[in-house]
């Protein structure tokens, strides 16, 4: 059986599945249940500075979007950091770490952007024996209005500054959690590492309004008729998160730095995808909040079976494996020519490929052949866009087949060249780099 053990920024855990800093990790009771279920680690729900407890709304904290059978696709929340007393949390963290020494216990922290505040809390956390800290620079709601959370994460200089304080006043590994509510994720990530962060984790939640009640015209979740943007997470955000993770993983300055992947991880496959794109481990929240802690059993068994099938001995065989394949558009092979192929034995004749292509794309799929209802690709019109594949309800019924080198592309009337060529050298590109003959 494959070895799932994980070492992330110096922190060991028996598997790469951590629970993200969120309601599931707010107290010992939950964390105990999580560890019993098999989770490799937790990031304790964010601690704030000593003082009067944080106050949450007393109405709904969550909004959601669903599929037809109420499958939860996306969740948002307006809950703040822990509203329990700092000392209570610290005591419980200490006890949990003592009782579960093999599991990763990382503590999320968010205090005002002042050196004294960080200097004050870091020793308290360190004293618990926690394995590391995660700097919450990501929460987009509530705390950001008070100059914390994403308000820090959106200013790379602040990110660097706070990370530096943390490294200065603590010996613990520092993970900086990034907000996706920013144009270029590489900027705060570079700042975090510049400040001495051992790792970054991303994404935190995305600014969102999940719904508007069209009777009362209140945004959801509605608090007495009003709503505030909340943090969006769950399966819906996974593609955004994976792109951001890959941007950091393939950045020349940050290549090889530890990244904890977060955002819609629901199954073992999601975890493999994040890790392939450069994540050293993954953090999970919404899936656990939807189905409970037991889902980690599926994650562990699925990941293990996949690794065995592939002959991967350890997670290192997966981590970053897809990163070299993430590139800029300009380097994509323009001589890679595909055509859609419809398997007539699998086709159920719903016609969705036809109407999608006919109405919105390239008029490359028939609706009838010789007067009979039949859907076939017209190679002389097909640009290989893949839309038909995506709208087809039958798996593998439509596939994109590459044309072999030398084959005729009926659309262009050209033979498929036998070599890679991209936009940078394309004759239509005014910026094309022409290879000057040597003098």
């Amino acid at each position: 059986m494959a070895d799932l053990s994980n070492r992330f920024a110096g922190i060991k855990s028996p598997n790469p599945f951590w629970l993200a800093s969120a309601p599931p990790t707010d107290k010992a009771y939950n964390v105990e249940r999580a560890f019993k279920a098999g989770w490799g680690g937790v990031v304790w729900k964010t601690l704030g500075e000593e003082g009067p407890p944080v106050v949450n709304v007393n109405g709904p904290r969550y909004g959601a979007i669903w599929g037809a059978d109420r499958r939860l696709l996306g969740l948002n929340n307006i809950e703040l950091i822990t509203d329990r007393a700092l000392q209570t949390n610290l005591r419980e963290i200490k006890q949990i770490k003592r009782d579960w020494p093999d599991r990763a216990v990382v503590v999320s922290i968010m205090v005002p952007c002042e050196e004294e505040s960080w200097k004050a809390i870091l020793p308290l956390v360190e004293e618990t024996g926690a394995d590391g800290i995660e700097l919450n620079f990501g929460c987009p709601h509530g705390m950001s209005e008070r100059g914390m959370g994403s308000a820090v994460g959106q200013v790379p200089e602040y990110v660097e500054m706070v990370a530096r304080w943390c490294k200065q006043y603590s010996r613990m590994p520092v993970i900086t959690k990034l907000t996706p509510n920013i144009t270029d994720i590489r900027k705060p990530a570079r700042a975090a590492f510049a400040g001495g962060s051992d790792a970054v984790s991303l994404i935190n939640t995305i600014n969102s309004i999940t719904a508007v009640n069209i009777d009362t015209f209140s945004p959801e979740p509605s608090i007495d008729g009003k709503g505030s943007h909340g943090g969006y997470c769950g399966p819906a955000v996974k593609p955004i998160a994976m792109s951001m993770v890959s941007e950091i993983a393939r950045d020349a300055e940050m290549r090889g730095k530890p990244i904890s992947g977060i955002g819609g991880v629901t199954t073992w496959r999601d975890a493999v995808e994040f890790m392939a794109l450069g994540a050293g481990n993954v953090q999970v929240c919404t899936a656990a909040m939807t189905y409970g802690f037991r889902i980690v059993e599926e994650m562990i068994s699925g990941l293990s079976a996949y690794m065995d099938e592939k002959g991967f001995a350890s997670l290192d065989d997966i981590i970053g494996r897809a990163v070299p394949n993430v590139t800029d558009w300009q380097y994509l092979n323009l001589n890679y020519v595909t055509k859609a192929r419809i398997n007539q034995d699998l086709c159920i004749s719903c016609g969705r490929c036809h109407i999608a292509c006919e109405d919105t794309s390239h008029q490359a799929i028939t609706s009838s052949v010789d007067g009979k209802r039949m859907f076939m690709v017209k190679d002389d019109e097909c640009v290989g866009c893949n839309l038909c594949v995506n709208v087809c309800p039958v798996e593998d019924c439509i596939t994109m087949e590459p044309l072999a080198a030398g084959a005729l592309d009926e659309r262009t009337g050209q033979r498929v060249p036998d070599r890679y060529a991209n936009w940078t050298t394309h004759p239509n590109n005014p910026m094309a780099r022409v290879n000057e003959p040597a003098e």
Partner: protein
């Protein structure tokens, strides 16, 4: 002597009141809102959808289902009613398994079609239970149209004519309008007096007067109607029942009468049913009669059909329903003699049959089934007698009224549609389409001739 369920001969009160209520409740429970949305989500919104082509009334099925999935059941109902004002009943009685659902791509793909009928019921029930009316009468045209027969064809025709501003009088032979919807289908397919509720919903548009107890050829004459009205639509259905051609024929009851009596009954326990019942036939009527006999408490119910399973007009779904309710279906048996002793049926003698080429022949071997009650359900026939005396004969073909593609009979100013017309499969939904289309033809004619004049 046994009483209750096992009472010999014909007897009522075989079951408890609770059992009657349970047995005659909805065959298919209506969808809840959530169930409807989940089922609607299964629809692929096909291009040029096969289901729509298969529907005799051409309802835009993908659109109405999408409207359900987007929480717009009223819009959905309007999409249905635009094509089929009796969409509520059709949702209940259509043999969807041989129409829209048979060609649903999910039936093709996985043997589980989108439940179009139940979704249609969800949409139409929503609109009808809220009393939402989607159509207004056009300003009065001053034209008057007589509709003979208040069944699906007549009602659909009357509604469409009323929409166009014509004044319609419906002449119905029975006590209540509705035709087969009211008298001809199994009770568990139309519960809570749905048929009359639907008549009220359809006629609420206004401009439709219904005169019941008016039989063509007895109380009204076609020649008079043709003279008194600007147009006439004939939709009187089938008045006759085919004979068994067996000895002791009189001992056999008409399944259609049994079904009608059951539908009109306010106390099912008062209905007498045999302990052992035999139904002769292979269509929907045979199944409806057999299943309901069983549900009334008959101990043994047997359908005897003279050909094989594949020849039965009843759909496979209906056959399975009968089997599930405990009805035995026997094939290759033709009736020879109904046995009657002392005025009571005691059994039926049947002869085994087989096909010689395409000809059905008796094998000479016979079988006697003990029975207290024998029903015949071997088809109904058009009774042309009512048309007599109209001065001008209306042409028929295959024993029913002949019409052209616009529903016009051979008699000028007279249209016809539904079961009384030749062709088709005698489905409610076909009758609705015929009535609707005849109304459009009548309207074009009354609006100034044109192609239909």
């Amino acid at each position: 002597m046994s009483t209750g369920q096992f009472a010999k001969g014909l007897a009522g009160g075989r079951l408890s009141p609770e059992q009657y209520a349970e047995n005659f409740s909805d065959l298919h429970q209506p969808f809840t809102e959530h169930e409807a949305r989940v089922e609607a989500d299964r629809c692929y919104f096909c291009y040029d959808a096969p289901c729509m082509t298969a529907c005799p009334t051409s309802i835009d099925i993908p659109l109405f289902i999408r409207q359900i999935s987007t929480d717009n059941p009223l819009g959905s109902a309007k999409t249905i009613f635009d094509q089929n004002i009796l969409g509520g009943m059709c949702a209940r009685v259509c043999p969807t398994e041989t129409l829209c659902e048979e060609v649903c791509v999910r039936e093709v793909a996985e043997g589980k079609p989108v439940q179009i009928g139940r979704l249609q019921r969800y949409a139409t029930d929503t609109a009808m239970s809220r009393g939402v009316q989607f159509y207004e009468r056009a300003p009065s045209t001053g034209k008057r149209v007589a509709v003979v027969g208040g069944g699906p064809a007549g009602l659909a025709c009357a509604h469409r004519l009323a929409m166009h501003g014509h004044a319609v009088t419906v002449f119905e032979a029975r006590e209540k309008p509705g035709g087969l919807n009211e008298y001809g289908i199994a009770a568990y397919k139309s519960t809570h007096d749905f048929a009359q509720g639907e008549v009220d919903y359809v006629t609420a548009i206004g401009g439709i007067a219904i005169e019941t107890g008016k039989v063509l050829g007895r109380d009204i004459a076609l020649s008079e109607l043709a003279a008194d009205y600007d147009a006439v639509f004939l939709g009187m259905g089938l008045g006759g029942v085919n004979a068994l051609g067996a000895l002791g024929e009189d001992g056999a009851a008409n399944a259609v009468d049994f079904i009608a009596e059951l539908r009109q009954s306010s106390d099912l326990s008062a209905l007498e049913v045999g302990r052992r019942v035999v139904v002769i036939g292979g269509g929907m009527t045979a199944v409806d009669a057999a299943v309901q006999a069983k549900l009334l408490g008959a101990e043994e119910v047997t359908i005897c059909y003279r050909r094989g399973q594949g020849h039965m007009n009843a759909s496979r779904f209906e056959q399975d329903l009968a089997a599930a309710k405990g009805v035995t279906i026997r094939h290759w048996l033709a009736p020879r003699a109904v046995r009657v002793e002392g005025g009571s049926v005691t059994g039926i003698e049947l002869e085994y049959t087989r096909l010689e080429g395409t000809t059905l022949v008796g094998t000479g071997e016979t079988l006697v089934l003990d029975a207290d009650q024998v029903f015949k359900a071997i088809g109904q026939s058009f009774v042309a007698a009512g048309l007599n005396g109209s001065g001008e004969m209306i042409a028929t073909e295959s024993g029913r009224i002949r019409v052209d593609e616009r529903g016009r009979t051979s008699m000028r100013g007279v249209w016809a549609g539904g079961d009384c017309v030749s062709g088709g499969e005698d489905l409610t939904v076909e009758a609705v389409a015929a009535g609707r289309d005849a109304a459009e033809s009548i309207h074009r004619t009354l609006s100034g001739g044109g192609i239909d004049g």
